[in-house]
Amino acid sequence: MDAEKDNANPTIINPSDLPSRRREAPTKKQPRIFDSLAPAYPSLADPLSSPEASDSDSEEEAREEIDEQEVYDLISTISDPEHPLSLGSLGVVTLDDIAIKGPTSPRSRIIIGLGVKVRLLNCLPPRFRIDVRIKEGTSNTADEVNKQLGDKERVAAAMENRNLINVVNTMLATCE
């Protein structure tokens, strides 16, 4: 376990080079010529748009859309439990596949998985089911870790364990 425990020289990515939706926002905001012709869907924040008023066709659009970028944004700022850096800047989390890979020990892997799961459980609406799995081929303990992370009873019990709560809270402290 010790041999695998740590990568002394992880590739560090400058946080400002990491992908993020926020920097893209301004370009997306630029009004396009036909925007005014497009029908406006009721905004979630709009207190006047009651659910009753929306007919079934617009319900799909009115739902908050969540994509890989959002998941990435939610979890990339989590701190690695063994490095003073975020998962994003360590390259542990990449936008391409939202997969978790080295440089971590097996125990760390499960704690990172737990941190990711807790972060997503806390941030995403309850209609989402969160399946956190280790990317295939990156760990020989993947099945075991995946099974633990998929067990809602174990995750619930872990979140009542003071030590684990502290570790996860420390990891999530760097998130907004």
């Binding site: 979630l44 924040a45 207190p47 009651s50 659910p51 009753e52 929306s54 079934s56 319900e59 799909e60 009115a62 739902r63 908050e64 609406p125 309850p126 209609r127 989402f128 089911r129 099974k147 998929g150 067990d151 809602k152 009873e153 174990r154 619930a156 019990a157 009542e160």
Partner: protein, 499 residues
């Protein structure tokens, strides 16, 4: 297809995840194990909370179970993530006549009052014993219906059997450590001292007492993931197959085989399947079958053979967390992480009642339609989905479902049953299976509709109020969107959204 309709939500509900609800063996109340370290006792007559049990556990209460055959007194066992089990007692209303129970305070009464802030009333539940022994979270516990035994199981991979020697004096009679992972569920056979356990190691084990020691007599393998729940078939329902009378020789033979085998076992798993297991009765040395009566076999050797007899139709798209096998109808209900509840029934293959037809509680009988080919014995019956509901707890996962006798004023007959489901939203809901014409009429209820509304005329008046005049199948799916208030903002949630 007939539908399942949510009739009421018990109030007030827990603000955190609720794990399991256990119906009282004879009173119209249920106990709900909550992650806020309490057990809430609700009435199935008016859907209101009667009392709360709190203060005994340091972590989530994962499971609770009523002791059967406790006359005049209710005894509840609680199993917690704090690794301990608690035994709680309360005298039943109007009971205790002729009993010496000077210390018990009757003044608070059983009727319960305004449940919101009755912390003061709660001393009516007496914390009697704490059972320590497990190394980690207790996941499930169950009282034996035939002997003074309590089984508990834990993440520490063990099953413990406790014997109640006399009141509040429990002794450990067995610590069973054959499982290789968390033990998720324990369940007793309804008529024998036979215990089943389900585990994170994907297996089910059956345990009996052999001379003086409890030991594993059967290992059931096959599930491709954690087995979350096991339950035996009610003794009265053995060999009762729906959809018609026993007519053909084949059917008679199957009934005989079932009677010999006795109660079957149902299990459900992370692999999304629900399986039925049957005992293979041993033959006498001369090759003739043993006597038919299921209750009297004595095995010369200890090990038993059980086989997977059937798989229920695939309905769930996420782990199946609980199943309940009705002792009154033989129907199985299931629920799980996908938020669905489904009800299944075993029928003679080819019986006219099969398929998507409207049906009452007594299926039409036409057992003779069976075609008589010499297919395998198991193929002459099949499990069909009788009814299902998506998003039984809105967008939340449903952790548990159980059949219970109906007790509210909408009850039509004495044998009527309801489904009680327990969800991650902290809610406990009561549902009934409705016939097709009702299913079309009854709009899925919002949380604000509780209690009352059970009689047909109330249902009719509801129909006038519902938003959409008529729901076709695809409208129904879209229909499920509703608004839910969470925190300070109102969010529009599509119930079908997680897919």
């Amino acid at each position: 297809m007939p539908s399942i309709t949510s009739l009421a939500t018990f109030t007030p509900s827990c603000n955190a995840r609720a794990w399991l609800t256990s119906p009282h063996p004879h009173l119209p109340i249920v106990a709900t194990a909550c992650s806020d370290k309490t057990v809430r006792i609700y009435s199935t007559q008016n859907f209101q909370q009667q009392s709360t049990i709190s203060g005994g556990h340091k972590r989530s209460i994962r499971s609770c179970a009523w002791r059967p055959n406790s006359v005049g007194e209710s005894v509840l066992a609680t199993g917690s993530f704090d690794a301990s089990a608690g035994i709680w007692r309360r005298w039943e209303d109007g009971a205790g006549k002729g009993k010496a129970n000077a210390e018990i305070d009757f003044t608070s009464g059983l009727a319960g009052g305004d449940a919101d802030k009755d912390d003061e009333d709660e001393d009516e539940w007496k914390f009697a014993v704490i059972l320590d022994g497990h190394d980690s979270e207790i996941k499930s516990l169950a009282f034996s219906p035939t002997s003074p035994l309590l089984a508990t199981c834990s993440r520490d991979k063990s099953v413990w059997i406790w014997e109640e020697l006399d009141e509040d004096n429990f002794e450990t009679v067995a610590v069973l450590q054959d499982h290789e992972g968390d033990v998720k569920c324990v369940a007793w056979h309804p008529g024998e001292e036979l215990l089943a356990s389900a585990s994170y190691d994907d297996n089910v084990r059956l345990w009996r007492e052999d001379v003086d020691d409890w030991a594993c007599c059967t290992l059931l393998t096959g599930h491709g993931g954690t087995v979350w729940w096991v339950e035996f078939e009610g003794t009265e329902m053995v060999a009762k197959i729906g959809g018609g009378d026993v007519a053909s020789e084949e059917q008679k033979a199957l009934v005989q085989q079932r009677e010999k085998a006795g109660s079957r076992l149902v299990s459900c798993s992370d692999d999304q399947s629900i399986r039925v297991w049957r005992k293979v009765p041993k033959e006498n040395p001369d090759g003739t079958p043993q006597q038919r009566l299921p209750s009297i076999w004595k095995n010369s050797n200890f090990e038993e053979e059980w086989v997977e007899e059937a798989r229920l139709p695939s309905v769930h798209e996420r782990p199946v967390l609980a199943v309940s096998w009705s002792r009154k109808t033989g129907r199985v209900a299931s629920t799980g992480s996908d938020g669905k509840i489904a009800v299944y029934e075993e029928r003679w293959t080819g019986s006219a009642a099969n398929g998507d037809v409207a049906m009452g509680d007594a299926p039409s009988s036409d057992g003779s339609a069976h075609n008589g080919s010499d297919a395998e014995k198991q193929a002459i019956t099949e499990w069909v989905v009788l009814a299902e509901i998506d998003n039984a707890h809105d967008v939340f996962e449903v952790n548990h479902v159980v059949w219970a006798p109906r007790a509210d004023k909408g009850k039509v007959h004495d044998e009527e049953e309801v489904l009680i489901s327990t969800g991650d939203d902290g809610e406990v809901r009561l549902s009934i299976r409705t016939q097709r014409r009702w299913a079309k009429q009854i709009a899925h209820e919002s949380k604000t509709n509780s209690a009352s509304l059970l009689a047909k005329e109330v249902v009719d008046s509801m129909c006038k109020k519902r938003r959409r005049p008529y729901r076709t199948a695809d409208q129904k799916a879209k229909d499920n969107t509703q608004s839910t208030t969470k925190g300070n903002r109102t969010v529009l949630l599509a119930q079908t959204g997680w897919r």
